[in-house]
Amino acid sequence: MTRRQFMAAGAMASAAWAAGCSSHRGPWESLTERQAQTLAAICDQIVPADDYPSASQAGVVTYIDRQLARHYRRHRKAYALGLEQADSIGATRCGVRLAQASPPQQLQVVMAIEQQNAAFFDLVRKHTLEGYYGSPRHGGNRDAVSWRMLGVSQPPLLGRAQYDLSKGPRS
């Protein structure tokens, strides 16, 4: 390798690295922005907002996105195909992508997904409930909102037993 070739290779590598680092991929680790919007629409039909936040407001999409990059990596293909199908059904029924449809239209589309791709719907429903009711440290259940909804006292109050080993086991 000549000095000129080395410098050129180094410059190209640096440029590629810098471009990769400076590209704004959004907040998602696994999903694209479009996939995240579609997933949010499906999740919000499973846990809609009432007095408490909806699934997407409680961070369920963040939960699923993080798990698809880790423990649920095996489900990435199912999500990619399922979300594409959801948008396709949305376009056929409503003329727009699922995320852009009205809430009643979204409900119709999600019910159609449940009929046509039950495996994908069950997967999303399972992961939505995990994200909504699980520990906030995994990205969902933002601010422990579902625990407060259920009246679960978190973190629990746990005082110590005031025993004294030096006085025997029953002290």
């Binding site: 680790e29 440290r137 995994h138 422990a144 006292s153 978190q154 973190p155 109050l157 005082g159 030096s166």
Partner: protein
């Protein structure tokens, strides 16, 4: 061979030059854009966004966070290798160094915290002979004494027995605080700008600052004080009046009551958790209904100047309240200041004048 050496030397020189330029350039880049540079790593976006909604919004990331070369290289390796954790958080060594960063601006708060028991070090807590001979060292100790510690108690102190001698085995941790600033303060949190409370002491309860939060070791996250539970306590079968001051919900996380033990009178009668059980210090008797913060300062627990806030110097009995036979004046007193009652001293009944004064709220 000579050409090969020349290429190797060239590579090395290029690496040094690029490294030096890269590190200093990166520091300038991240320091100059008020966090915008840091969010170009998409993993950090939510965290940088969080601090922009806090009282620390005017600070740059590098004002508080470590910028050493080793840290930057580690971040790059995690970013490129996509080996980051589900939720980004500070390592235990970073939390310890963060305390120094807090000190730079909050010098008075740091000084009062450092002077009090909440700044106890790992050595003071985990090698205390009185504690270790009476109770077992266990991971649950870390819930309140070392909630940011990344590991188990076995990695921290040895031996785990009741005979000792004990020593802190985690390098560099013996003289570090077990309860640093981030135990009760949540920096990257959403909320409004902090303002000074109108009054320091309030029985009704002051507004709860957004930054007040408890770091729960089990969930590895802060829980805002406003959302933490306040216990419903009992004195025997009688419900205890617990002050609604939400700030003290943080205190209750460690100074917590226990459910009645199986076989106890309280359990047999299905009474709720008893005031004074476990580590609870909820006031009963003459002080029932007061908040922790009615008497204690938050940062150092000091309550020495608190009596004058409510009491005239002389009690109804003509005795200086600070010199009465309570644990306030004498830690060995049988009359704990948290639970002292009129009848502790007036064993034959409270005199009529005293009852009238109490009834009229004097």
């Amino acid at each position: 061979m000579k050409a090969l050496l020349r290429v190797a030397a060239l590579c090395l020189a290029a690496a040094v030059v690029l490294g030096a330029a890269g590190v200093s350039g990166a520091s300038l880049y991240y320091d100059s854009q008020h966090g915008a540079g840091c969010t170009s790593c998409h993993e950090m976006a939510a965290y940088v966004g969080g601090v922009h909604d806090s009282a620390h919004r005017s600070q740059n990331c590098l004002d508080c966070h470590d910028t050493s070369l080793a840290t930057k290289l580690r971040h790059i390796a995690v970013h490129l290798g996509r080996t980051g954790p589900e939720a980004i958080r500070l390592r235990d060594v970073d939390v310890v160094s963060m305390t120094s960063a807090c000190q730079k601006c909050h010098q008075q708060e740091y000084a009062t915290w450092h002077a009090g028991p909440h700044s106890a070090t790992y050595r003071q807590i985990f090698t205390d002979a009185k504690q270790n001979t009476q109770r077992r060292l266990m991971d649950d100790c870390l819930r309140c004494h070392g909630m940011h510690y990344d590991g188990s108690v076995r990695d921290l102190v040895q031996p785990l027995n009741a005979t000792g001698p004990w020593r802190v085995v985690r390098a560099g941790f013996a003289d570090q605080p077990t309860m640093p600033c981030l135990t009760c303060h949540w920096i990257h949190r959403e909320g409004s700008l902090e303002t000074k409370p109108a009054e320091r002491i309030s029985v009704a309860g002051s507004p709860v600052h957004d930054s007040l939060a408890f770091f729960d070791r089990r969930e590895r996250m802060h829980f805002a004080a406003a959302e933490l539970p306040l216990p419903q306590l009992f004195d025997g079968a009688t419900p205890v009046k617990v002050c609604p001051d939400r700030r003290q919900a943080i205190c209750y996380q460690c100074h917590a009551p226990r459910q009645p033990d199986t076989g106890s009178v309280a359990a047999a009668h299905h009474w709720g958790p008893q005031a004074g059980s476990g580590d609870d210090r909820t006031p009963l008797g003459v002080h029932e209904g007061l908040s922790c913060f009615s008497c204690h300062q938050g940062h150092n627990e000091n309550a020495r100047a608190s009596c004058k806030t409510c009491h005239p110097k002389m009690s109804h009995c003509g005795i200086d309240v600070e010199k009465m036979d309570t644990s306030y004046s004498n830690p060995a007193s049988r009359h704990n200041i948290h639970w002292v009652r009129c009848t502790d001293c007036h064993t034959h009944g409270v005199p009529r004048a005293g009852r009238a004064a109490i009834a009229s709220g004097e």
